[in-house]
Subunit: 404 residues, 2 copies
C-alpha cells in the first residue's frame, strides 16, 4: 500500500526508556511475512494505566485489561499485542485465547498472569489463532531489547501505511524524564478511542491512580478529538507504563503533563494523517460556544460530515456545508452570530458570506495539505479543537474490499 | 446524470386531487433550460400543516413557513418552490427574497401573503436571484392545471436522478379519499427531515391542528428513519394540504392514517433509492432493544456507519462492522445476546458467528439490490426500522465536485 501523502518524512528516532524492553516477530496470525506480534517487558516498579473503548461490544482483550487495572500494583509486567485479528465478538473462545496467551507469557517470563496485558487489532468475529502467537513467546522473550520500540510499532500496524512514534524529554528540577510512545490506527477512527492502539512508556515515577487520572484527562483533548470516519472500534486501547527508573516523581508536575499531552497529540495527529485515503489534514477550531463540550460537539459534527469531507477532498471551498454541519450538531448556534474562517481568511459572518471574501481566495486556500477551519459561534467562551482528514475515493477503495 | 439503478421503472400515474392545481416553469435560477420553479394553488377550505428541519441554521423560507403555520386558517393558499439555490445562510437578504416572492404571488393570485408558503433547495450561502422567479409568477398562475403534479415533481429536483411521486386511495365508509405526494432529495439526507422537500395533497377533510399532529407522528417512522449520509439540511420541509373537497372527515380515521403513512414511506424510500451514488437499498430492522428509541439509535448507528456502508458497496458480508456499529451506538447492548441476520440467514448469535453460517451464503446474499439487516439485541421489546443506501465511489464523485 502506498504511504499516505500526509505521513512524516521518517519514523522518529525514539529514545530508550529505562525499564522497558521490546521484541517483535512474524507469527502469521493473518498477514504473511511481516511482524505481527510485539512484546514489551516492564520492569518491577512500573505503574500501568489505560483508557479503553466505551463500545458495548468491546473485545475480549479490552475486557481483560480493564479487569486487571486499578490494583495499584507495580510488579513486573508485560504487554503483548497482535495485529491481523481483533479477537472481538468471538464469544467465550475470545476469553480462552486471552487466557492462553497471558498464561504462556507469564510462565515464559516468570511473572504473574494478572500483570500480562494483551491487545488484538484486525478483523472482527474470527477466532484468534492464539497457538501461532503462543508458539512465538519464547523467541520473543529471548529477543527483548531496550532498542526494539520501532519494530514494535511496525508489528501492530493493520491498514496503517506508516508506523507511528513520538517522544519527549522534559526537565523537572534539573532532572530529565523521558517519554516515548507508539500507535496504530487509520480507519474505524472516532472519539471514544477509535480503532487505535497506543502504548506510551516513560521512566517517570508516578503511582497508578494519579497516572490513570492524568491519562484519562489528556485523552479527552487528544485521542477523543480525532475522527476519520466516525466509526468507533471494539478494540481501542491506550496504555501507559511509568517505570519510575528516572527517580523523578511527576505526580503533580505541570511539565510532565504538558510533555505527555504533546506526545499523545502527536500520535493522535499521526493517526489522522494515516486516515484511510486521506489527502488533507483538517483542523476544526471551534470558539464562542456555550460550553467546551458544545464546542467539541460542533467540531465533531463538522469533522464527521461526509459533505464537508468530500468538499475538502475536491478542494471546493464549500462553506455552506460547514454552516449545515454547525446547524445539525444540536449545539446552541445562531445563524447571525456565526463566523467561519479558512485559516486567516474570513469567509462568513453576520449570517452571510463576508464582503471581503472571494471564491478565488477560498479555492487557493483549499489547495493546501493542511486545512484549518475556524468556526466562531459568537455565543459564549466555550472552545475546542478536533482533527480529521478528507473523504476520498481512496477510503471507498480500501473499505469496500478490506476483508476479502 | 445517470438514473439511479434503484429507481422505480417510471414516475407513477398520480391522481388529480380536487382543489389543487399545479404549474412549473424554467426561471433560470441556477440551472439552464429545465423547469426549476413550481407553483401549487390550494383552494379555499384547505388546511395546511408542515414538518421542518430542526437545524439551528435553517433557511429563510423554512423560518417563514414555520411562522405562518398554526393559525388554523383554511383560506385559499399557494406553495412556490424553486430548485438550484436554497436561500439558506443569506442573512437579511434571504428574508427579503422570501417576502418579495410571497408578495408577488399574493398580488398575482389574489390571496393573502400569509397564505403563501415557499421553499428553496440547492446551494447554500448564495443570494437567491428572486427577480427571476417573480418574473415568472404571472405565467405560472396562467398555466395552473389540476394535472400538473408530475411537472411540479420534476421542477423541484436538484441532484435527484429521478422524480418522486406516490399516491393512495382509501375507502372510508363507502366514500373515497385520495392522497398524492411528490418529493425531492438524494444527498444531505439524515433524520430531522434531511435535504428533502415533500409535498402531499389530499381531498380529505381535516382541520390544521389534527393534521399537524398526524403528520408529525408519521414523520417519526418514515422520513426521520431514512439516512443517506448522516448530513441534515438547512431547508428540509414537508407540507401537507388537505382540501376537504371529498367531504370525508378523516380526523380520527385509522384508514386515512395508514394510507398517508404508506405514501410518506413510499416517498421516503424513493429518496433513499436516489441516494447519491447508491447501488444498494438497505433496510436495518432492529428488535429486542430496551426501547423503540434505542432501536432507532442502533438502526441509525448501523445505517450511518461508513464502514458498514462501504462493506455493502463491496458486497462484503462483513458482519463484524455491524457488531462495531451496534457497540458504538450508545444504546444498551450485550455482546452475548446480540443476533444478526442478513435477510433470513442467521449470521451471528450468542456473542459469535452462528454455527450454521457460511461465508458463501453471506456473500451470495450481498449480491442482492435490496439488503435487509436484522439486528436483535435480545434485551427487551423495543423495535424500529431504518433505511439507507450503500456508500460508493459515486457519492465521492458527486460531492467532491458539486458546486464548481
Amino acid at each position: 500500500m502506498k504511504v499516505s501523502p500526509l505521513a512524516p518524512a521518517a519514523f522518529p528516532d525514539l529514545p530508550v526508556i529505562d525499564g522497558v524492553r521490546f521484541a517483535a516477530t512474524a507469527a502469521g496470525v493473518r498477514y504473511k511475512d511481516r511482524p505481527d506480534v510485539m512484546l514489551a517487558e516492564l520492569a518491577a516498579g512500573t505503574s500501568v494505566a489505560g483508557v479503553f473503548t466505551r463500545s458495548a461490544t468491546r473485545s475480549a482483550p479490552v475486557l481483560d485489561c480493564q479487569a486487571k487495572l486499578g490494583t495499584g500494583s507495580t510488579d513486573r509486567a508485560a504487554i503483548l499485542v497482535n495485529s491481523g485479528n481483533s479477537n472481538a465478538f468471538t464469544g467465550s473462545a475470545g476469553e480462552q485465547s486471552v487466557e492462553a496467551i497471558c498464561t504462556t507469557v507469564a510462565n515464559v517470563m516468570g511473572l504473574d498472569a494478572a500483570r500480562v496485558f494483551t491487545a488484538s487489532t484486525g478483523v472482527i468475529g474470527e477466532r484468534l489463532p492464539h497457538d501461532r502467537i503462543i508458539a512465538k513467546v519464547e523467541n520473543l522473550n529471548d529477543a527483548l531489547t531496550d532498542t526494539g520500540i520501532a519494530d514494535a510499532a511496525r508489528a501492530i500496524m493493520t491498514t496503517d501505511t506508516f508506523a507511528k512514534g513520538a517522544s519527549a524529554k522534559v526537565d523537572i528540577d534539573g532532572q530529565t524524564v523521558t517519554i516515548a510512545g507508539i500507535a496504530k490506527g487509520s480507519g474505524m477512527i472516532a472519539p471514544d478511542m477509535a480503532t487505535m492502539l497506543v502504548y506510551i512508556f516513560t521512566d517517570a515515577l508516578i503511582a497508578e491512580a494519579p497516572l490513570q487520572a492524568l491519562v484519562g484527562t489528556l485523552t479527552e483533548t487528544t485521542f477523543n478529538c480525532i475522527t476519520v470516519d466516525s466509526d468507533t472500534s471494539t478494540s481501542d486501547s491506550l496504555m501507559i507504563a511509568a517505570t519510575g527508573k528516572s527517580g523523578v516523581d511527576v505526580t503533580e508536575s505541570a511539565g510532565f503533563t504538558k510533555a505527555l499531552r504533546e506526545v499523545m497529540l502527536d500520535l493522535a495527529h499521526q493517526v489522522v494523517r494515516d486516515g484511510e485515503g486521506a489527502t488533507k489534514f483538517v483542523e476544526v477550531r471551534v470558539t464562542g460556544a456555550a460550553t467546551d463540550a458544545e464546542a467539541r460537539t460542533v467540531g465533531l459534527s463538522v469533522a464527521n460530515s461526509p459533505l464537508v469531507k468530500t468538499a475538502i477532498a475536491g478542494e471546493d471551498p464549500n462553506w455552506g456545508r460547514i454552516v449545515m454541519a454547525v446547524g445539525k450538531s444540536g449545539a446552541q448556534a445562531d445563524r447571525d452570530k456565526l463566523a467561519i474562517r479558512f485559516g486567516d481568511i474570513l469567509v462568513a459572518e453576520n449570517g452571510w458570506v463576508a464582503e471581503s471574501y472571494t471564491e478565488e481566495a477560498g479555492a487557493t486556500y483549499m489547495k493546501n495539505d493542511t486545512i484549518v477551519i475556524n468556526v466562531d459561534l459568537g455565543i459564549a467562551g466555550g472552545l475546542g479543537t478536533v482533527w480529521t482528514c478528507d473523504l476520498t475515493h481512496g477510503y471507498i477503495t480500501i473499505n469496500a474490499d478490506y476483508r476479502s
